[in-house]
Amino acid sequence: MTGPLRVWSLPWALLYLRHEVLALPGRTLALLFVLFLLLFPLFSQDPYWLRVLTLTAIFALYAASWDLLSGYTGQVSLGHAFFFGLSGYTSAILGRETGLSPALTIPLGALLATLAGVLVGLPSLRVRGPYLSLVTLAFPIIATGLIFLFPRFTGGELGLSGLPRLGQSRLEEYYLVVVIFLISLLILWKLAGSRIGLLFHAVREDEAAVRMVGVNTVRLKLLAFAVSALFAGIAGGLYAHYLRVAGPDSLSLFNSIQPVIWSVFGGIATIYGPVAGTFLLFPILEILRVTEELRMLAFALLILLVMRFLPQGVVRGVLDRLEEVCPRCKVRNAFTRRHCRACGVELHLPAAKEVKP
């Protein structure tokens, strides 16, 4: 090879692909997952499966947003549906009242959800742990009460229907949602891996220690609430326009608990864990429709089994079997390697012989 490698040059991309992506099973799986999402319509345009994948992508974004707040920062939210539903309703009402398109109303809804995130984050400055969870739980209940209080404005029990579609066809909607999902995910992943992400981690582990080194934890926690609410809001807006209905169901307790289940199943504090959890559980629930009576039972048993044998979540559990951390430089390696790809240290050291006196 002659000359320096440019960041966007093809050889650089290929080298990066070879050494940084294909070298690790986890990253290879992630690449395959992205390719699968982008290329799926080339193999099938079955509207039912496009719908399932679209909804899964929306919910995966929703679960990842919960993970940023609750997994990374430890501010466990049991009322995440508040941001999801609020954005959906805002987008629906704005669309109806002003005639704006979803391209504008969804970001505006997400923006309001961000402000609401700061509002919900304020109690976190005074209460912690289960008390904070209970406080967050109150917000969707209050929102539901308001919806029933102003039925002419919110549609009451029935919600608002006939919202404009996201795209002209199922395929267009699919690509729109998938692209927004992938970009959002990249932002969340980068944020979680940045210095701010490390501070989020630190807040979860020992907030007092973080404060002692001069970090403003108030600002950090509010930031976590705001960013998490922003992405939950984007998911909520997409959901409302995809389903074409913004109803009280979007604010239900069930909808608040779902991201928790998906995240714990996939592996919390990873961002990609909740995504994997959603992309496994949501389609499985669809496939289980063939056993109507046993559907929910089989689903619950599956979760119990996975939690029993992979308590840290599916992603962490599988990756720990496929990858190994180098004991010296901490770089991850494929389980097939005998020497670390970074420092060359032998990964499988022979067991030390017992010396008999």
């Binding site: 029933f148 039925p151 029935l158 229907s161 109507e292 559907r295």
Partner: protein
Amino acid sequence: MGRIGTAVLWAVALLLGSGVSAQTLRIGVVGPMAFVQGEHTWYGATLAAEEINRAGGVQIGNQRYRIELIRVDTNEMTSVTDAATAVERAITAQRVDFLMGGFRSEAVLAMTEVAADYRKIFIITGAGLDGLLAGRVDRNYERFKYLFRVSPNKSSDLARTSLLLAAEVVQAVRQQLGIPRPRVAILAERAAWADPLVETAGRLFAAPPPQGYGAEVVGTWRPSATATDVTPELTAIQRAGAQVIFTVLSGPVGVPFGRDWGRLRIPAAPVGINVEAQQETWLRATDNLGTYVATLNSLAPGVAITPRTIPFISNFQARFRQFPIYTASGAYGALYILAEALTRAGTTNVDAVVRALEATDYTGATGRIVFDRTHDVTWGPGYTTGLGVQWVGGRMQAFWPRNWQVEGRVVSYAGVRPYELPPWVVEAWRR
């Protein structure tokens, strides 16, 4: 058998198979199948499909079609997303030609959006909110013309009927107990659908006759729809001196209400809407304390609303060993209405079937069904009215409409008996 023989047999089987599938109408029966509402939707449709198929199927043009029902469990009580996806699966993967059913209004709204996307006819048989059709079919006809409702009557009509039932009880208190201005307590669950009914009832009870009932409203109590104890509310009602309790209860709170009311011997007669009291399991659920409770219903044992009512109830009970609830009679009627519309249309072309459905004039188990301009079932004398039922002597019996006079007509069904005030109410208030 040689290879040629086997091949011929396969070819014949394939030909026959393709012939059969070409003459089959696939109807998706939609509902929360783990709940009684969904289960009865399926039962009602099954009974109708069996009868129609036994009679040779549906005649469409020159061909006869057999009905094949596809069970679509929507899980709609838990998840609206699940419900909408189930309908999309039914349309695209299970290839249904028509849809019927649905119970929870919010979920039905999302399901009907999917049906409208695919231009599939969807006959609602379980959800009652007005807004499912009003404001959609009339305002955006081209998109929503595929939606129809056979049962129940829309919420506002159910409210009208429940207030008519209350009028019967107020009248009974006035005449039998000699109280010229009966006192009424309103007990409504905390739910959005109950709000307009509470407001209307309050006004109507207090207004002087002939517009109102000339009664006195002593207060309104709003327990949770899932409350397990309504003793405080009932004690307060007793203290307020009410002779009538107007109930607006659709949730499980109906059972604790019936149990506490009977246990405490509250001297006020309950009437209105209590969905739990519509089911044949009512007395068992209330430890037999729910006797004398009155509620709006669509069917009652031995009451012949039309000549089809008793045969339907008998056949249903013989087949499923249960008394049918309104989703059963709705789905049963919906399938016959659809079959007749297909026959009249002479084609399966959706627009032609919609036009034929709009011209429906069908006498079913619960009354005469004619669709209005929003494709909703028409309420009133000569159409469907609903029934007022009361638990007396260990069984459900109807007390309304009995000599109901409206616009110069008298509406009455065979098998309807007079309303009976609970004996402890009579004992407490007789002057």
